[in-house]
C-alpha cells in the first residue's frame, strides 16, 4: 500500500533538551533526543516507529502533536484546507489541530485521573470542543465505551476499578472522543498481558477500518509492528536509520542495526531459531553521540568511513519497485537518488 497523500510532513526535525547545571543553572549541554528526522505520514496508514529505549520515539511522537516543541525543522499538517506549519503556531493557533491529532500513552495506570469518574475524564475533551449538553456528552461517552467493547455503565466508575487492559481501552476511547484523524499510540499495548494485548490490537485495527484513522504506532516490539503496520521506521539515537514497507523490512533488511534488532527478538516458533546477534555494549548516550554513524561502536561491520562520516538516509529500489530508505555506508547496492 502506498497512499499518495501525506497528512503530516516532517523535515529535519530536531528536539534538543537542555541539561542545566551549576549554581546559575546554565545550560551545560543538550540531550539530542530527536536529531534530524525527515518523515511523511500518509493518510490511512499504520506507521510503526521502533527502536531501543531512549532512542527518541516518544519525543518524536510528542513533537508530531506539538506536545513538545521542535527546536529545529518543520512539521506541516496537510488538511482539506491546505497546508499548515504547526511548529510556529501558539496554543490558540494549535487548538483546532489538537482535535485532529491525538495520543494514547504508554502507561494505562497514570494516564487517567484517579479522582474523576470515567465520564469525568472522557467528557473533558468533548466540552472543550463545544458539546454543550451534558445528556449529549453522556450519550457520546457511552457510545465510545461501547466502541472499545466496554459497557456504558463503566462511565460512572473510577479508574482503580478497572484492570490494565480495560484502562488502556478507556484511554483509546478518550483519544477517539473528538474524532481525530491521526492517533499516536505510544507503547499502547506494551504494558499489557499477552491475552489482553491481543484484545487491544484487534480493537485498534477494527477502529481504524471503521473510522479511516491514521496511526503512528510506537513500540519496541517488532512482532507487533510486523503484524500491525504498513510501514516501519527504525530509530537509533534520535535518527531514522531505516524506513520502508513492513514486509520489505523483514524480507530485505538493509541496516545492520535492524538486522541485530530482528535477530534479538525471541520468536515463539521453534522452527525459526535464527542466530542471535549479540550487540556489544549499551545504547550510547544522546548527550554525546558517537562521531560518524551513531551505530558504529556496536556495529560488527564498521569500517573507517563509519567512524568519521555520518551516513545520509538514502533511497534504494526494492524488488517490487518501491522505495526503501536506509542510512548506512556499507550497503552493497547503489542508491536510487
Amino acid at each position: 500500500m502506498q497512499p499518495s497523500e501525506p497528512i503530516l510532513r516532517l523535515r529535519d526535525v530536531h528536539v534538543h533538551f537542555p541539561i542545566k547545571g551549576g549554581v546559575f543553572k546554565r545550560t551545560k549541554d543538550h540531550v539530542r533526543a530527536v536529531d534530524g528526522v525527515d518523515l511523511d505520514v500518509y493518510k490511512g496508514e499504520v506507521l510503526g516507529l521502533v527502536g531501543e529505549s531512549g532512542c527518541g520515539k516518544t519525543t518524536l511522537g510528542k513533537a508530531i502533536l506539538q506536545l513538545v516543541r521542535a527546536t529545529g525543522g518543520s512539521v506541516t499538517y496537510h488538511g482539506d484546507a491546505g497546508e499548515t506549519e504547526l511548529t510556529t503556531l501558539d496554543d490558540a493557533g494549535l487548538f483546532p489541530f489538537r482535535k485532529r491529532l491525538q495520543i494514547v500513552f504508554q502507561d494505562p495506570h497514570s494516564s487517567l485521573n484517579p479522582a474523576y469518574t470515567i465520564f469525568g475524564s472522557l467528557e473533558d475533551p468533548l466540552r472543550h470542543y463545544g458539546v454543550r449538553s451534558r445528556a449529549e456528552r453522556r450519550k457520546i461517552v457511552g457510545d465510545l465505551l461501547e466502541a472499545v467493547n466496554m459497557r456504558r455503565e463503566a462511565m460512572d466508575r473510577y479508574p482503580h476499578e478497572f484492570s490494565g487492559g480495560q484502562r488502556q481501552r478507556i484511554g483509546i476511547a478518550r483519544a477517539l472522543s473528538i474524532e481525530p484523524e491521526l492517533i499516536v499510540c505510544d507503547e499502547a499495548v506494551s504494558a499489557l498481558d499477552v491475552s489482553i494485548q491481543a484484545q487491544v490490537l484487534q480493537l485498534l485495527m477494527d477502529l481504524k477500518r471503521e473510522k479511516q484513522l491514521t496511526y503512528v504506532f510506537i513500540t519496541h516490539d517488532l512482532s507487533v509492528t510486523e503484524y500491525l503496520c504498513d510501514r516501519i521506521a527504525v530509530m537509533y539515537l534520535g535518527r531514522i536509520v531505516e524506513l520502508c514497507d513492513a514486509e520489505e523490512l523483514f524480507a530485505n533488511t538493509l541496516h545492520p542495526y535492524t538486522e541485530a534488532l530482528l535477530s534479538a527478538i525471541p520468536v515463539a516458533d521453534l522452527d525459526r531459531k535464527s542466530e542471535r546477534i549479540v550487540l556489544e555494549g549499551d545504547v550510547p548516550s544522546p548527550v554525546n553521540p558517537p562521531s560518524g554513524c551513531p551505530f558504529h561502536p556496536r556495529c560488527r561491520y564498521a569500517q573507517d568511513v563509519c567512524r568519521t562520516d555520518v551516513p545520509a538516509l538514502r533511497p534504494y529500489r526494492t524488488a517490487a519497485g518501491g522505495e526503501h530508505l536506509a542510512a548506512c555506508h556499507l550497503i552493497d547496492q547503489p542508491p536510487a537518488d
Binding site: D193, V194, S223, F250, L261, S263, A264, P266, A268
Partner: protein, 343 residues
C-alpha cells in the same frame, strides 16, 4: 559399592510436590498456589510461563522462603538436592541459619527490577564482596579480584573502575548484569530468574540470555526462568510449565508443549501473540474475558469460563494427567486433543 536401590536422578536439583501456598488478606484467602509440582535439573532451563497473577513469583518466593507477610506454605514439599543430600525447604525456618545458607549460596535469585534488589548506598563491588564474605572463605584481596572477574565475565566494560561505582551509575542492562554477577558469585546450583529482562531492550535482553545459556552450559547451573513471553520460552527453555490461576495446566519438554499443546489455555496463549516472520496475514485471536477473582476462584477448572472447549465436566477440577513420561496436562478433554493431533 553393593547394590543399592537406585538413588534419585543425579541431575535433579529441586523438586516441588503438590505445593499449596495461600495468601490471606481482609479475612479472605487467596489460594495463590494450589497444588504445583515440577522438577528442576542441573544444566537445564525450566521456563514458567503464564499471565499476570497466575502465581509465578509466589512459586519463586516459596522456594526461597521469601513469601510476603500473611502467607504460608499450607501443604506439599520443596526438596532441594544439594551436595549434602536432600533438604526439605518448607520445613526450614524462614530466617534460620540453614535457610540463609541456602538462599544466595546454593539457590540464587535475580528479580524483575534490579533497582529493588541492589542496595543504592553501597557500591556494586561492595555488594558482591559481601556475598563472598558471607558465603565463602576467600580473603579480602581474593574477594576483590573475584568481584572484578565476575563483572568482566558479565561483559561489564572497565570492571576495575566499575567495581567501585554505585548502582545508579549503571544503565538498566548493566544493573541486571551486576545482579547476575552477585547471584553467580557463589556458584549456586540453582538460579531462579523472575522476569529478568522484562524492563530491558531486546538487544540487552539478548546479552543476558547469552550469559544464562553460558552458565547453564559451562557451570551446569539449573535455571528456573519466569516469563510471560512465549518467544522467550521457545528461545531458552528445555522444559516449560504453563501456569494458570495457581496451577500448572500443562508441562513438558518445550518441543512437545509448543508443537503439540494439549491444554486449551496453552493453545489460546500461542494463538494470541503475533509471531515475527508470519507477516500481516497471520490470525491472532484474543483470549476472551478475564482471569477470575483470585479470592473467589471457581471450584472446577480455573480456565473453564474463558474456554472454547468447555463441557459440563469442567465444573469439576480435572486431575493432572501424565500423557507421556515427561508431558502432563490438566484438562478433561486432553484425549480428544491428542487424537486430533495424531490425525
Amino acid at each position: 559399592m553393593t547394590d543399592r536401590t537406585p538413588g534419585p536422578d543425579p541431575e535433579l536439583a529441586l523438586s516441588v510436590r503438590d505445593l499449596k501456598t495461600y495468601i490471606y488478606a481482609n479475612n479472605r484467602c487467596n489460594r495463590a498456589l494450589d497444588g504445583v509440582s515440577f522438577d528442576i535439573h542441573r544444566g537445564k532451563t525450566l521456563c514458567i510461563v503464564g499471565e499476570s497473577g497466575c502465581g509465578k513469583s509466589v512459586t519463586a518466593a516459596s522456594i526461597l522462603q521469601l513469601l510476603p507477610e500473611l502467607s504460608r506454605i499450607e501443604e506439599g514439599e520443596i526438596v532441594y538436592h544439594g551436595a549434602e543430600g536432600p533438604v526439605n525447604i518448607e520445613r526450614l525456618k524462614r530466617n534460620g541459619r540453614r535457610m540463609r545458607a541456602i538462599r544466595g549460596k546454593e539457590i540464587a535469585m535475580i528479580f524483575q527490577d534490579p533497582m529493588t534488589a541492589l542496595n543504592p548506598v553501597y557500591s556494586i563491588g561492595f555488594q558482591i564482596k559481601e556475598m563472598l564474605l558471607y558465603h565463602t572463605r576467600l580473603g579480602k584481596r581474593a574477594r576483590h579480584a573475584k568481584a572484578i572477574d565476575l563483572l568482566r565475565s558479565m561483559g561489564i566494560p572497565l570492571p576495575e573502575k566499575r567495581v567501585r561505582e554505585y548502582p545508579h551509575l549503571y544503565s538498566g542492562g548493566m544493573r541486571q548484569r551486576a545482579m547476575i554477577a552477585i547471584a553467580m558469585s557463589c556458584d549456586p546450583r540453582i538460579l531462579i530468574a523472575d522476569e529478568p529482562t522484562t524492563a530491558l531492550d531486546v538487544t540487552i535482553q539478548a546479552q543476558i540470555f547469552e550469559l544464562m545459556d553460558t552458565l547453564k552450559r559451562e557451570q551446569g547451573t539449573a535455571i528456573m526462568l519466569i516469563t510471560h513471553d512465549m518467544g522467550v520460552v521457545a528461545e531458552l527453555a528445555d522444559d516449560v510449565a504453563v501456569m494458570y490461576m495457581g496451577q500448572i495446566v500443562e508441562a513438558g519438554p518445550v518441543g512437545q508443549v509448543l508443537r503439540n499443546p494439549l491444554h486449551p489455555y496453552t493453545r489460546a496463549l500461542l494463538e494470541s501473540i503475533p509471531v515475527l516472520g508470519r507477516g500481516k496475514n497471520q490470525q491472532i485471536r484474543a483470549i476472551p474475558g478475564q482471569t477470575p477473582d483470585p479470592y473467589d476462584r471457581p471450584t472446577g477448572c480455573q480456565f473453564a469460563e474463558r474456554c472454547r472447549y468447555r463441557v459440563d465436566a469442567c465444573a469439576e477440577m480435572p486431575p493432572e494427567t501424565q500423557v507421556s513420561s515427561s508431558h502432563r496436562v490438566r484438562c478433561w478433554r486432553h484425549r480428544e486433543f491428542m487424537a486430533d493431533a495424531a490425525e
